[in-house]
């Protein structure tokens, strides 16, 4: 009785093609957005913004980009960290070299840099696939590590390779408070997620999924593999690039190439696998799992130790945290190999039938 949709009839194509055809879903999403945009800014503390919400929102955006490529088009990539780095340094170079360039065009230009970089390193996908492609994209990662450490022009001749930006402004408003930064990132995320959702529902998304499921069969029915694969690389690395620029500009403020190391690539891949391959919702779940859970654990464990009267040392907490985190990943993947998004949709399915399951 919790979640019943009888009585909701669709009489037009328009209503049948909505993103959320069920009224309850629309209400839930509306509430969620209201909470994210209105309720959270009313209550959250500064720590909550800078350490939890902003990293979560930006990483969700990056995971979304990775999911389009890996989850929807089936092109496994280990170069996501490199795409983020290209987005970040690209935006940085436009930002400091063109005086008075506003932030949003700088972010878009950074995303475009990442897009070209992504297409370039997506070219091997026309020849190799699966694990081989993963290794080929790993080259993008190593190349970007080398590039941003060695080509000092890209880092504005900074002697240590560390660059920074400050006094960010959007449409005349200064991004100087955590709330403003959070709302800015959240707006971008909402906008891009909406675009991505529509993209995967449309013709191009279907082409990607056809390529993912069986590329030979897709080619037989008239899908051009080159176009589909490269467009997936382009869209995905544009989004990852924008996320990288946000991570550098808004979250870190000052960064070095190590901020986008191969570890970031792995983390992004884990996010989409744990969250759910081929699901927009899964990107958010995955980002929450990978970004927030370690922080929650690092604070929960000492509190739990206090409850039973054991004082845990920092090193112990940190080791237990890593073990718990690893254990949870394994547990989640055993319980539901299709990721958290699948768990979520199963929960929804159960609620639709409740209390009469069959």
């Amino acid at each position: 009785m919790l979640y019943r949709e009888n009585g909701q009839f669709k009489t037009t194509y328009r209503s049948d093609q909505q993103i959320f055809p069920i009224a309850q879903d629309r209400i839930a999403i509306g509430l969620l957005l209201a909470v994210a945009f209105v309720a959270i800014p009313l209550f959250a503390s500064e720590y909550f913004y800078t350490s939890i919400l902003i990293p979560f929102v930006i990483m969700s955006l990056a995971a979304l980009g990775v999911n389009l490529l890996v989850g929807y088009c089936g092109q496994i990539s280990l170069g996501s960290g490199a795409f983020m780095a290209v987005g970040a340094y690209g935006a940085y170079n436009f930002f400091v070299r063109i005086p008075g360039l506003p932030l949003i065009p700088a972010l878009i230009l950074g995303g475009l840099c990442a897009m070209f970089f992504g297409i370039l390193f997506g070219l091997p996908s026309l020849r190799v696939k699966g694990l081989y492609l993963a290794v080929a994209t790993l080259a993008a990662q190593f190349f970007s590590d080398w590039m941003f450490l060695r080509i000092t022009w890209l880092t504005n001749e900074s002697p240590s390779g560390q660059v920074s930006v400050n006094k960010l402004k959007v449409l005349g408003m200064a991004l100087d408070t955590p709330v403003a930064r959070y709302l800015f990132c959240l707006s971008l995320l909402t906008l891009i997620a909406l675009l991505a959702k529509n993209l995967v529902r449309g013709a191009i998304g279907r082409e990607w999924m056809a390529i993912r499921d069986m590329d030979v069969a897709a080619a037989v029915i008239g899908i051009r593999p080159m176009y589909a694969k490269l467009s997936a690389f382009a869209v995905s690395s544009f989004i990852i690039g924008v996320a990288g620029a946000l991570w550098a500009f808004v979250h870190l403020g000052s960064w070095e190439p190590a901020a986008f190391s191969v570890e970031v690539s792995f983390r992004l891949l884990f996010m989409v696998i744990i969250g759910g391959l081929g699901s927009i919702m899964g990107s958010f779940f995955g980002a929450a799992f990978i970004v927030i859970l370690p922080i929650v654990l690092s604070r929960l464990l000492p509190a739990m130790g206090d409850l039973v009267g054991v004082e845990l040392s920092t090193a112990t907490v940190s080791h237990v945290e890593l073990m718990t985190f690893g254990g949870l990943i394994v547990w989640f993947l055993i319980v539901e190999p299709h990721g958290l998004a699948k768990l979520w949709s199963m929960g929804k399915q159960k609620l639709r039938l409740w209390p009469f399951p069959h």
Binding site: N166, A258, L300, V317, S318, H319
Partner: protein, 442 residues
């Protein structure tokens, strides 16, 4: 069945969120020291004694003196794993605590990130012997305190020591000096000074980067074997140092021609190499050993009571003593601030900043605190956030470090213009201005 699993998951997540939300602590008359540290990851062998020394000194001051003029010292550690984003998270988590004093990020990368945030939050950054070299200029960097030396002064002192061993700086002409460095901001910091000096004295500078964390150095040492530099400067941290020494041994590069920075001159760096590192020199920012009064006090008031943070035999080692010394500078800054703003009260981070800027630890004071053999006097001012740049050279004899008797000081004539120029460029990039001299009295 599935539903119950979902419920369990939801409960775990909700419990976590609740813990995050309630971080309020009992407020009281306590000076709170946030301790960022790393006890895990590739740099843990070096990060752990450093962190232990910092904790033990606070415990000792509480046990021996009952705090600073009656103000109890509290602390909480936060594990960064040497990762910048985790470090920023720790900073955000701990900075809101009541009575927060100052931040010692324990990492050059985190220092860079926090340099942007500290002025906004009005929390001083204490980076003893590391961090941004140009931040020695207090007029440009109001909130950074790079005390007792930067990578530029360190590099300068190594070159002076080499010059001295050759019989004069002019003998450096035509020599080849290689810098084997950790490929990160930490490793790249000394390069501008080395380039400046190489122009001055006419030696050739060869730059040999090592990818972090530094366990893979075969290619680098192949280059050393090919080009046979006269001297190798080692700018490493953690596992990179011992690996470099082993590679030098394998390459047959004479260890007595190798000079490490002070972060490459502690026991964990050479212990495993043992005799293979005999003759290796490194900078010594601080003395070590168990015969200093402060170390004996720590043993007496903390370790003998069973409250020590690490193993007892680690007390007095190089990095442990450095941790103690760094924490002492922080504690003394609070004491100095109390002299002006009110004894026996909790200082705000802004007041501590004034204390750091007006620190004056002369030899007599250091002797009375038991730091006489550990360091030289430090005296900071509004313009000079470094206070002193003295360091010695120590040599590993296969079993222990032997500190040389000579104290070196970085050449002000070279450093001053470099610091000023770098600070000006930084401020211009940020569209900021130097501090007004009137600001000094605030």
């Amino acid at each position: 069945m599935k539903l119950s699993k979902l419920l369990i998951t939801a409960t775990v997540v909700a419990a976590g969120a609740a813990t995050l939300a309630t971080s309020a602590l009992a407020q009281g008359k306590e000076q709170f020291f946030p301790l960022l540290s790393y006890r895990t990851g590739p740099y843990a062998p070096n990060g752990t004694p450093w962190a232990n020394g910092k904790q033990d000194y606070l415990k000792m001051i509480n046990a021996r003196d009952g705090g600073i003029n009656g103000v109890k010292l509290t602390f909480e550690e936060c594990e960064t794993g040497y990762a910048t984003d985790r470090g920023v998270e720790c900073y955000e988590r701990l900075k809101v605590r009541p009575g927060v004093t100052l931040i010692d990020p324990q990492s050059t990368g985190i220092t860079f990130a926090l340099t942007e945030k500290a002025p906004v939050d009005k929390i001083p950054l204490l980076t003893v012997g590391y961090g941004l070299s140009m931040s020695a200029d207090g007029m440009a960097f109001k909130w950074n305190f790079e005390m007792m030396g930067s990578y530029w002064t360190g590099a300068d002192i190594i070159l002076q020591a080499i010059g001295k061993s050759l019989g004069g700086m002019d003998k450096l002409k035509g020599k080849k000096v290689a810098l084997v460095y950790h490929d990160s901001p930490f490793g790249k910091e000394p390069i501008p000074l080395l380039e400046e000096r190489s122009k001055m004295h006419g030696f050739e500078l060869q730059l040999l980067p090592v990818t972090a964390p530094g366990v893979e150095q075969k290619a680098t040492w192949l280059q050393v074997r090919q080009s046979r530099p006269d001297y190798v400067l080692l700018w490493g941290w953690g596992v990179m140092n011992s690996t470099a020494l082993k590679e030098a041994q394998a390459t047959g590069y004479p260890r007595d021609k190798m000079y490490g920075v002070w972060w490459a001159g502690a026991e964990p760096d050479v212990r495993d190499v043992g005799m293979g590192a005999k003759g290796y020199h490194a900078l010594a920012l601080n003395g070590s050993g168990k015969d200093q009064k402060v170390i004996q006090d720590i043993v007496k008031y903390v370790h003998d009571k069973g409250q020590g943070t690490g193993p007892k035999d680690e007390v007095g080692s190089v990095l442990y003593t450095r941790g103690v010394m760094i924490q002492m500078l922080g504690v003394e800054a609070v004491r100095r601030a109390q002299e002006r703003f009110g004894k026996g009260t909790v200082m705000t981070s802004e007041q501590v900043r004034w204390g750091l800027e007006n620190l004056n630890l002369d030899q007599k004071k250091l002797d009375s605190m038991g730091f006489g053999g550990i360091m030289r006097p430090v005296s900071t001012s509004c313009a000079d956030h470094m206070g002193s740049s003295w360091a010695r050279i120590q040599t590993w004899d296969g079993a222990k470090w032997n500190i040389g008797a000579d104290w070196y000081q970085a050449d002000e004539q070279i450093l001053k213009p470099m610091v000023k120029a770098a600070g000006d460029k930084y401020l211009a990039d940020k569209k900021m201005k130097r501090r007004d001299p009137a600001d000094c009295s605030s």
